[in-house]
C-alpha cells in the first residue's frame, strides 16, 4: 500500500500543528462556535449526543497492521476500547474528548494517518472496491489513481468550502462494488479500444433526502485528465450549487436543475481551459504511486490445497464460514477473507481494541501485513493462502470475528443512529440487533440466501437504506421514533433505489415486519431467485399486502 514520503509526512505534521492551534483558539474563546464548526468538521469532529465523534480517514479503505495496532491503542487510550467502522470505510470514535483530539491526531500522524476532510463541505474520503488489486474481475486496479486523487483533493484551495459535502468513488471492475453511481462523482476505469486506461465519469448520484442515480457526463476520459476534469465539474458546482438550503445543496440538485446536457456543456466549457494544465497527471507520477500497489510477492501455489479441502469436508462449521466469508482471488491458491463485524446482537461495524489487535496480527501473519475496510462495515484480509485459512478461522472465531453471515440477512449495514448521532430521527443499532436476534439461526439464514438489509437513522442515509434490498429508515413522528421500510433497492451494476412499502412501524414491530417480508419471499420465490429478484419481479404489492394484513395466519 501507499507509503508516505517526506512531502506527505510534512503535510500531516503541519496539519496537527494547525488543528492544535485552532482548538486552542476555540477553547480560548478566540473562535466562535460557528467559526470553529467548519474547521472541526473538516477534521472529522462532530459534536454528538454524549461526546464529540471523531472520524479517522482510512483512504480507500486500506490499512496496514501497524496502523490498525495504533488505532486499537488510540481507542484504548482515548476512548472506550472500541471503534466503529463506517460505510465510508472510515473509523469513528464515539467518545473522544475535544481537548485531546490534537494528541490523537499527533499519534495518527506517526503511522501516516489523519482525519483530514472526513466531514464538512469539502471533498471527502475517496472510496473504492474492498477487493481492489485481488478481484478476478478487475480490469484496472483503481488504487493508484485513488491515491493520486486523494493527494490532489487534500486541502484543495479552490474547493475548501463547497456548498455541501462531495463524495468521489472509483472502481475498476466489471461488477461495480464501489457504488459509483451513488456518488457526487463516480469514476469507472476501463481499457478502451486502444488498450489504454480510460474513465467513464458519472455525476450527480447520491442518497440522502433525494436519492438519485448518477448520470454519465463523459463516456471516455483519458486517465491523465482525471484531476482537471474533476476540477471543471467541481468549479461549476462551487459557483452555481445552491447555498441557501442545505437540503438542496448537493451537486445532484444542480445537475437536475440544469439537466445533464446543460451541466455537461458548462463543464466541458470550463475544462477547455483546464485541460493539460499542470495538474494533469504525468506517467511518472502514476508509475511512482502505482509501485506501492504492485502485486504481493505471492507464492506459486496449486489451485487446490489438500489440508483446506480436508478441513472443509470434516468440519461443517468451518465449511459454513468458508462458504460465506471467502472470495475468489486473482492468484491461484489464495483467497480474500471477510472478517465479520456483525455478530448477532452487537452494533454492526463495531470492533473492540482487542479485536483490532487480533485482526492486525492476523494480517501480519497471513496477509502481507495489510487489510481493508469494506463499505459493508467488515474487515478484509485480501491475500490469504488456502492452507492458512483454517488457522485464520480458528483465531477469528475465538475472537468473535467469524460469524458466517457475510452477505446474509444479519450482515446488516447500519449507521450509528440515535444512540450516538445528533442528527438522528431514530435509533438504528437496537433495530439491527433485534433483527439479528430474530434470525439467529444459521441454517435459516443460509436458506434465505444473499440479501442486503441497510438501516439509516435519518434522511442523511449514512446506512445506505435506499440501496438495501430491504431498507429501513428512522423517521420522526410527533417526537417518537418510527421506521419506514422499503424494498427493491440495490447496489452494483443494476443499482436501483428501493420503494417504500407503506406507513412506518414502531421499533417493537420491526423484527416481525422483516420476518413477514422474508416469509413472502420464501413462499413466492422460484428455485433460483434471491430476495431482490423476487422483489423486482413481484413489485411491492404482495409484500405490502402481507405485512399490513391484520393478524392473519401465515399462509
Amino acid at each position: 500500500m501507499y507509503k508516505y514520503d517526506e512531502i506527505d509526512q510534512r503535510l500531516v505534521d503541519e496539519r496537527v500543528a494547525q488543528y492544535r492551534d485552532q482548538t486552542r483558539r476555540y477553547l480560548a474563546g478566540e473562535l466562535s462556535e460557528e467559526e470553529f464548526r467548519p474547521l472541526r468538521l473538516q477534521n472529522g469532529l462532530y459534536i454528538q449526543r454524549h461526546a464529540p465523534m471523531l472520524r479517522i480517514a482510512v483512504p480507500y479503505g486500506m490499512l496496514s497492521s501497524k496502523q490498525l495496532h495504533k488505532l486499537a491503542d488510540i481507542t484504548h487510550k482515548y476512548d472506550r476500547n472500541y471503534g466503529h467502522f463506517s460505510t465510508r470505510q472510515n473509523l469513528q470514535l464515539n467518545w473522544p474528548k475535544l481537548e485531546e483530539i490534537p494528541d490523537i491526531l499527533a499519534e495518527l500522524a506517526t503511522v501516516e494517518m489523519h482525519a483530514i476532510q472526513t466531514s464538512g463541505n469539502c471533498i471527502r474520503n475517496i472510496t473504492t472496491d474492498q477487493f481492489a488489486g485481488v478481484a478476478p474481475d478487475e480490469v484496472v486496479d483503481p488504487r493508484a489513481m485513488a491515491e493520486v486523487m486523494r493527494q490532489w483533493s487534500t486541502f484543495h484551495p479552490e474547493f475548501a468550502l463547497l456548498p455541501r459535502k462531495f463524495k468521489i468513488a472509483v472502481s475498476g471492475t466489471k461488477e461495480d462494488r464501489a457504488v459509483v453511481q451513488m456518488h457526487d462523482v463516480g469514476m469507472e476505469f476501463y481499457l478502451d479500444g486502444n488498450k489504454k486506461v480510460a474513465i467513464k465519469v458519472w455525476v450527480g448520484g447520491g442518497l440522502g433526502r433525494t436519492p438519485i442515480l448518477g448520470a454519465v457526463i463523459r463516456e471516455h476520459l483519458e486517465w491523465q485528465h482525471a484531476l482537471t476534469y474533476c476540477e471543471a465539474i467541481i468549479r461549476v458546482y462551487n459557483l452555481h450549487g445552491r447555498r441557501d438550503n442545505s437540503y438542496k445543496a448537493r451537486i445532484k440538485i444542480l445537475v437536475k436543475a440544469l439537466g445533464i446536457d446543460e451541466f455537461r456543456s458548462q463543464v466541458e466549457a470550463e475544462w477547455a481551459h483546464l485541460k493539460d494544465a499542470p495538474n494533469t497527471i504525468t506517467e511518472a507520477e502514476l508509475a511512482r504511486v502505482a509501485k506501492h500497489f504492485e502485486a504481493m510477492p505471492y507464492a506459486a501455489l496449486p489451485a487446490h490445497d489438500a489440508s483446506f479441502d480436508a478441513a472443509i469436508a470434516s468440519n461443517p462449521a468451518f465449511a459454513n464460514w468458508a462458504k460465506r466469508s471467502l472470495h475468489a482471488h486473482k492468484t491461484a491458491g489464495y483467497r480474500a477473507v471477510t472478517l465479520s463485524l456483525k455478530p448477532h446482537g452487537k452494533a454492526p461495524g463495531d470492533a473492540t481494541s482487542e479485536q483490532m489487535h487480533v485482526v492486525a496480527d492476523l494480517a501480519e501473519q497471513y496477509s502481507f501485513g495489510e487489510l481493508r475496510v469494506s463499505h459493508e462495515q467488515n474487515l478484509i484480509l485480501a491475500d490469504v493462502k488456502l492452507s492458512d485459512l483454517f488457522a485464520v478461522w480458528e483465531k477469528a472465531r475465538a475472537n468473535g470475528l467469524a460469524t458466517p453471515n457475510i452477505g446474509l440477512l444479519t450482515d446488516i449495514i447500519c449507521c450509528p443512529g440515535g444512540d450516538f448521532c445528533s442528527l438522528a430521527n431514530a435509533k438504528s443499532i437496537p433495530i439491527a440487533e433485534a433483527i439479528q436476534m430474530q434470525f439467529d439461526n444459521l441454517d435459516y439464514l443460509h436458506d434465505i440466501g444473499d440479501i442486503e438489509l441497510n438501516i439509516s437513522g435519518c434522511m442523511n442515509a449514512c446506512g445506505h437504506h435506499h440501496i438495501g434490498h430491504i431498507g429501513i429508515l428512522g423517521v420522526d413522528k410527533d417526537g417518537s421514533e418510527w421506521y419506514q421500510v422499503s424494498i427493491g433497492g440495490s447496489q452494483g451494476n443494476n443499482a436501483s433505489i428501493g420503494s417504500v412499502i407503506g406507513p412506518s412501524f414502531s421499533a417493537e414491530e420491526m423484527p416481525a415486519v422483516v420476518q413477514k417480508l422474508i416469509d413472502v419471499y420464501i413462499k413466492e420465490r422460484t428455485p433460483e431467485e434471491l430476495f431482490i429478484d423476487t422483489a423486482r419481479r413481484l413489485g411491492v404489492a404482495p409484500f405490502k399486502a402481507y405485512v399490513y394484513a391484520k393478524d392473519e395466519v401465515v399462509a
Binding site: S153, T154, F155, R235
Partner: protein, 205 residues
Amino acid sequence: MSQLIKLNDNVAHIAENEWAVVQLPPSLVEARKQAGKVVLFKLTGEKTVSEEQLSGTVIPESGKVIVPLSVFIARKTQLQSRINAGEIGVWVDTHEVLADLALHQADLNQLPIIAVHVERFADGRNFTLGVLLRTRYGFKNELRAIGDVLRDQLFFLKRSGFNSYLIRADRNAEEAMLSLKDFSAPYQGAVDEPRPAFVRYNRTA
C-alpha cells in the same frame, strides 16, 4: 492598527488601507443572493440590484474607492476619468458573474484593485472567483478579500490568487497573518504555485 494584510513577493505584512469600499444602499432582494446564480437567476431572470440602488449609491468625490460591480457597469461613463487616473477599483459579490465585468472593462489591468466580498466566511465561491480572475481573465494587480475574512481561510485565499486580505474588524490581523504559512508543501497546483508536488519535487519513493 490596520486590519489589512498584504503579500509582496510572498512576504506578508500589515499595510495601510488606501481604498474605501463603496456600499450599495440596502434592498429587499438581498436575501436571495446565497442561492446559486444559475439555478435561481437564470430561471427567474431576476436582477439582484435595483435601478434605485444603482442611482442611489453614494460615491465619494475624490480618493481611491472600490465600487460595486453593478454600479461600476451602470455608471462607468461618469467614472471614466477617475478610472483613467487609477482611482477606481471594483468589488464583486460571490454570486456575481465575472464575465459581466470583463464585458464592460476589456482591460482589467486598468483597475489597480479588484476585491471579492464574502458575506459569510463559509461561502467558498470567492476561491473560484479569485482563481478565475487570475487564470482566465489575466488580472495582475491587487486582488483583495473583503467582508467576513478570517484567519483560517487565508491559506486557501492565498493559493487562489488573493494577495491582500482585509481581516474582519474584531480580529487580530497580525496573528491572522501566521496562517498564511499553515502548509509549506501543498499537493496540488493552484494560482500561487501552478505546479503540483509531483512536478515540483523529485518524489521517488
